[in-house]
């Protein structure tokens, strides 16, 4: 059914569309589950309780966007109801939605429709033809909801319809097209946010540190696998299995020349300075915590022994001593830190803290 397209149109897909389609599918699937559960237990004799005995639902909707010349850019999408009896989408609703969207986004047109599943089917052609009166060449965006961990690409494919002559009859068939992902800054931020979801009780420093390190770990792993590929290729070239490709060798040599990237003396200086500044700041935070704890202790001490002020200037004196010692400690530490740190930003923040005291 799907060969590669030859219409020459370039497709640009925004991540909002993909997120919308998967959200629609997830909502429908999860809404199906509670009604399925009693069914399952009845039919499976107390079986595994997994609610995937029915085939996954297919969701349908419309995609909208802009077409400029040969470039089709798909920006947004909305959901539509599918009527299984007439095998068509809900037309009046579609038109109402189209009107509403036109008011908000005057430049967006209906470019096509979407659905979920693993491959395009014959029945989809009816829907496709029905949309042809709105847009003479609609696109069909298909999302495959099956999670395949080994697959590296997005499970999204874009189909166009082409008139091919099969057995002497001109028929419309779906042909696959390639597409690129195009993002706006807002979309990039939200996708980034979703990708970095931390566990909800991840307030503690350790889990945040672990998450950060895991990110670095996977990045280095990818770099490692790519260098391995280069390494094998060069080894094969040396042995003579692969013919010597000079331009590639030149590029690799220029890459390798950038390599001792952190060796210089200037880097060491800057790095150590920043490292020391960070340590100083955490030291300062610790000191502040300790002095506030000591302050609390002194207050509690004084309230507990308040009635004894007549009995002994001794306790009042010791209390004043404690307070003075703690204040001196804090001021001394501030002085020392001021002199030690050379970073201008750091000293200005210390200024603000000092004024607070």
């Amino acid at each position: 059914m799907a060969s590669s397209s030859s219409s020459g149109l370039t497709f640009k897909l925004h991540p909002l569309v993909i997120v919308n389609i998967s959200d629609h599918y997830t909502r429908v699937k999860s809404q199906m589950n509670p009604t399925l559960a009693p069914h399952n237990n009845a039919t499976n004799n107390g079986g595994d309780g997994v609610v995937s005995s029915l085939p996954p639902p297919r969701v349908f909707g419309c995609v909208i966007g802009v077409q400029k010349g040969r470039t089709v850019e798909i920006f947004n999408s909305f959901e539509l109801l599918y009527d299984p009896s007439t095998h068509s989408l809900d037309r009046p609703f579609l038109e109402k939605k189209q009107e509403l969207y036109k008011k908000v986004f005057p430049h967006f047109y209906i470019l096509g429709w979407y659905s979920t599943g693993s491959d395009a089917e014959e029945s989809d052609m009816h829907i496709h033809k029905a949309l042809m009166d709105i847009n003479e060449s609609p696109v069909y965006v298909l999302l495959n909801p099956a999670i395949n961990h080994s697959q590296k690409d997005l499970p999204v494919s874009i189909f166009e319809s082409e008139l091919h002559v099969i057995d002497g009859i001109p028929q419309l068939i779906f042909v696959r097209s390639s597409y690129t992902i195009e993002t706006v800054e807002a979309e990039r931020i939200s996708v980034d946010h979703v990708a970095h979801l931390k566990p909800s009780d991840g307030g503690s420093a350790a889990t945040q540190l672990a998450a950060n390190l895991t990110g670095i770990h996977s990045a280095i792993k990818m770099l490692h696998s790519r260098i391995k590929v280069l390494h094998h290729y060069l080894l094969a070239m040396e042995k003579g299995d692969v013919p010597c490709e000079n331009s590639l060798l030149r590029q690799v040599s220029s890459l390798l020349r950038r390599l001792p990237a952190i060796e210089s003396g200037k880097f060491q200086d800057d790095f150590l300075m920043e490292y020391n500044d960070t340590l100083l700041i955490s030291y300062l935070a610790m000191l502040t915590n300790c002095s506030s704890a000591m302050n609390d202790l002194v207050d509690k001490f004084s309230t507990a022994y308040d009635r004894h002020t007549r009995r002994g200037g001794r306790t009042a004196f010791s209390e004043c001593c404690l307070v003075l010692v703690s204040r001196c400690l804090v001021l001394d530490s501030f002085d020392a830190l001021f002199q030690l740190c050379r970073h201008r930003f750091l000293s200005s923040s210390l200024c603000c803290l000092g004024i607070g005291y």
Binding site: A206, T207, K221, H224, L235, A304, R307
Partner: protein, 247 residues
């Protein structure tokens, strides 16, 4: 990488010209064209052609030497062998100097002005900087920063020159070193993650212990207060009992 793309068409064109050239003078003129072309920095494809290698045996051998010089050598090589090589046109001199900068960038990342001036036969800093900016950076073969205070040129990126036969082994060695460093890095990161997790476990346990102790002490104080307060309910009695507790 875009330099390679720009050069690939030129390389193909010159390779075709050289293989089509029938006699030695035609080949030598192709060589002269190739070495003076302002955008071409890669000569090993032309060097590999059998027509060109046949020049070894003829009188025009020095054109082959010239091509070899442009592929692997630098400006000072030319000066020392000037009698054996044909006279260079200004375009070729410029190209050879650019290639010299590339070779220097191979070995050092920070090139002092003095060394550059010596290698390129340039007398003052202004000329050197003009050469670096106009001929090297705008041509895209080198990217870097010029530091006037410390009189050096920091190279961030330099295009690759043609490889000498021995350099492939070095490159493979560097790649395997890089691989082992990144593997070690991965292992140490995993250790750090485990350390962070275990430290957080220890911290949680410690916190729980401290809270349990605080609860115990609170309970024991309440018990003592309750037992003491029954016989004497005056404020004096409370004070004395509080003192007893603290001491």
């Amino acid at each position: 990488m875009d330099i390679e793309q720009r050069q690939s068409e030129l390389i193909d064109q010159f390779v075709k010209q050289a293989s089509a050239a029938s006699n030695t003078s035609a080949i030598s003129s192709v060589i002269v064209d190739a070495t003076s072309h302002p955008l071409l920095f890669a000569f090993s494809e032309i060097l590999a052609l059998p027509n060109v290698l046949q020049l070894e045996a003829t009188d025009e051998k020095f054109y082959l030497d010239l091509l070899r010089l442009f592929a692997h050598g630098i400006w000072s090589d030319y000066k020392s062998n000037a009698d054996r090589l044909p006279q260079l046109v200004p375009d070729q001199i410029l190209k050879l100097k650019q290639l010299t900068v590339l070779t220097l960038a191979e070995t050092y990342k920070v090139l002092p002005y003095d060394q550059l001036m010596q290698e390129l036969d340039v007398t003052n800093v202004r000329e050197l900087e003009d050469f670096l900016i106009n001929e090297c950076m705008y041509a895209g073969i080198v990217r870097g920063k010029l530091d006037q205070l410390r009189r050096c040129f920091e190279v961030q990126f330099a295009a690759g020159r043609d490889l000498r036969p021995g350099q492939l082994g070095n490159m493979i060695q560097t790649l395997s070193d890089w691989l082992s460093t990144s593997e070690n890095m991965l292992v140490s990161i995993q250790d750090k993650i485990k350390w962070a997790d275990s430290m957080s476990e220890v911290d949680k346990k410690h916190r729980k212990e401290v809270e349990e102790k605080v609860d115990e002490v609170k309970k024991s104080i309440f018990k003592k207060l309750h037992t003491v307060s029954r016989p004497t309910s005056t404020s004096e009695g409370m004070r004395r009992s509080a003192l007893n507790l603290v001491e």
